[in-house]
Amino acid sequence: MRVSTSYQYDSFSRQIRDAQSRYVAAQRVATSGKRLEHPSDDPFGTSVSLSARAVRSAIEQYDKNLVNARGVLGLSENAVSGLNDLLREGYTMAVRAAQTTVDQEGRNGMAAQVAELQRRLVALGNSRGPAGEYLFGGQKNDVAPFAAANGALTFSGDNNSVIVETGPGVTMSISTPGEQLFKAAYDKLESLRQNLLGGTTSSTEGDIQPLQDQMAVTRAQLAEIGSRMRSVTTLKTDNARRLDGLAVQISDVEDVDMAEAIVALKQAENAYTAALQVGSQGFNLSLMDFIR
């Protein structure tokens, strides 16, 4: 083939240009560590990456929701366990009052202590969660749900559940239905107080069993909260595992294999060096040099 001078130079500069652009591209891949910078780098991979990112983002949010759930459940657990303690104190008092050695003065003192227990009970029923919400008010949780008046507890919340989203379309109730729990406990203590003030040994004896029963109800509720706490832990572990998996999946699509990238960079560098060397030496020959 006949080779024209300008073609010789053009093809030389084109080869250098190509080698250089490959070198720079390899350099960019190696320094950024990214295989996928634009959708056109890997259209299918882009789709995979965007899906995985969406899932990852959602799981991260579900995980945050679970943190919130744990906070609410923890505080609820404290409150219900406090309620259980109150009932135990009431129960202890009922047992003591049932002994004949206690005179009326002593019983009056006990009644005052029970009244104090009731005040603490109301305060527990009006416990607040991390966002200032009333834990036992159901969904109407912006005002204190419990108030004591005339020896009875009134409830102004509702019995709807407060939920957290733990997965796509999956929810978990984090509220503890408070109305029955606290009202019944309050009533039991009220009965004890009344019996202490005006009743007899045998009438306070009658308060022992209901208080015991109520403690069982409270403990069952505690167990319920505990089991939900355990689900939260399990779900969080699950999420952590899935997030790890997704991180690997996203990295597989988006990131380069460093060893491969370095090898490619080295190859591109060699090609570039060779192109430059050939170019700088290839033009030394010309008929001109042989004409005097």
Partner: protein
């Protein structure tokens, strides 16, 4: 009958011819780097015969002359080069535009619409799970604003690109018309020169270079006449015709078809940079050009408005608009798309107006439904989820961009190959020219020698007479 100085005539003809040939060699060397230059060669030919009597009439040659100066060029390769340039121009423009569009969308990253959609639904999930927290509502508001802002700014970027492309369409048409005038002028000069004799090679080269530049801009056809002039056509439009004033390309175009001119005098632009621009700006086989993607963003924005506002309400009256999350028109007016997509002023000013549920402040049921919207397949999006719809659009864009980038790479190689073949024919080789230079130098020296000999012979003759 040749005279006594006949030989001197032969020698001086030869000297003149070799002098011209050296000039041509010099011209070739001088133009070794001139784009579009085709090397020229002198065709030598014997001169008229001279007759003399010797044993009857005999014929003697009268030396050498240059019969013509030609440029070395392959018309077939030229035609292929024009086709190659036409596709190259189109693919360059399309691949470039698509790459630019990819940059506008900036995916996959944490700064794209996709990530904003994720965060938006995440924020609803967060609100559903913590409806009492005013921070959760603020989060929803911020995520909504980010999403709307990204949709709007992406749309704005695409609009700006569209304007830019339209500007380039105008500039390209101007360039075409400018080249048409240039070709027209060269045509005139070529005709003038051709009347006087041989081919005006440099003018032809310049004209061909202009046609080649033109073929990178649009689908060009040419017809060459005997005097070397050409007619140039773009589609149905005669752009240049010899001895007529140029007929510029109209600057109006039909946005729906991407055709130039007004009906019924359409001009189909099927190749070249102009076609690439029209493709990017108006239509293409796929949907990943500016108008297609703007349409997708409009659809996305309108769907978000309808679906989110549809769920974000506690008042059963379908005509009530007081609880809207995203701004929207009052039906039956047509929705406005991505251009003014935003939250309602109410929500923007007071995030506590965001509705999480119906029963009380602890109710997250509505927020939960809005969080669930991310997994809902929507008929208005072709039964895809919102993110799925967007994701498919991006993947299509990526595929399209890759396709045209690959086609561009191939086309660059094709044009490079044609250029190599063409250069092999028409390009100046300094080694060739050096060899020619030596040859003509030697020939000139020999002719000079001949002249010297004739001079001596003549001198001898004159000397004989003097004696």
């Amino acid at each position: 009958m040749p005279g006594p100085f006949f030989g001197i005539g032969i020698a001086s003809n030869a000297l003149r011819s070799f002098q011209r040939a050296l000039d041509i060699t010099g011209h070739n060397i001088a133009n070794v780097n001139t784009p579009g230059y085709s090397r020229q060669v002198a065709d030598f030919g014997t001169q008229d015969l001279a007759g003399f009597w010797s044993n009857g009439r005999q014929w003697i040659g009268s030396g050498v002359g240059i019969t013509s100066v030609n440029r070395i060029r392959d018309m077939f390769l030229d035609a292929r080069m024009r086709e190659g340039q036409a596709d190259l121009g189109r693919f360059e423009m399309l691949a470039g535009s698509l790459k630019q569009i990819e940059g506008v969308f900036n995916e996959p990253s944490d700064n794209g619409i996709s990530s904003a959609l994720n965060k938006f639904f995440d924020a609803w999930s967060g609100l559903a799970s913590n409806p009492n927290d005013p921070g959760a509502k603020l989060q929803v508001k911020l995520a909504g604003e980010t999403l709307a802002g990204r949709v709007r700014s992406t749309y704005g970027e695409l609009s700006r690109m569209s304007d830019q492309i339209n500007g380039q369409v105008g500039a390209t048409i101007d360039e075409i018309n400018g080249l048409a005038t240039e070709i027209q002028t060269l045509n005139d000069e070529i005709r003038q020169a051709a009347i006087q004799g041989g081919p005006p090679n440099d003018l032809l080269d310049r004209r061909d270079a202009a046609i080649e530049r033109l073929s990178g801009l649009a689908n060009v056809n040419t017809r060459t006449f005997e005097d070397g002039t050409v007619s140039v056509y773009i589609g149905q439009h005669t752009l240049v015709e010899p001895a007529r004033p140029p007929n510029p390309l109209p600057t109006t175009f039909d946005a729906s078809t991407g055709r130039l001119g007004t009906p019924p005098n359409h001009i189909d632009i099927t190749a070249g940079r102009l076609r690439g621009l029209l493709d990017a700006s108006f239509k293409i086989e796929g949907s990943s050009t500016v108008p297609g993607l703007k349409g997708q963003l409009d659809n996305l924005a309108n769907t978000l408005r309808t679906e989110v506002n549809g769920l974000h309400k506690t008042i059963a009256d379908p005509l009530d608009t007081s609880e809207r999350f995203f701004n929207d028109v009052t039906p039956p007016a047509a929705q406005t798309g991505a251009i003014d997509f935003d939250l309602t002023v109410t929500i923007k000013n007071d995030p506590t107006r965001i509705i999480s549920g119906v029963n009380g402040p602890g109710d997250g049921s509505i927020a939960l439904k809005l969080s669930g919207l991310r997994d809902t397949r929507l008929p208005s999006l072709g039964n895809k989820t919102i993110q799925g719809f967007y994701r498919d659009g991006i993947a299509d864009l990526g595929r399209e961009s890759r396709l045209y980038n690959d086609r561009l790479t191939t086309q660059v190689a094709v044009v490079g190959q044609i250029d190599a073949q063409r250069q092999s024919v028409m390009g100046v080789s300094l080694d060739d020219e050096m060899a020619n230079m030596l040859r003509f130098q030697r020939s000139y020296q020999a002719a000079a020698k001949v002249l010297t000999i004739f001079d001596q012979v003549t001198e001898d003759l004159i000397g004989m007479l003097r004696r």
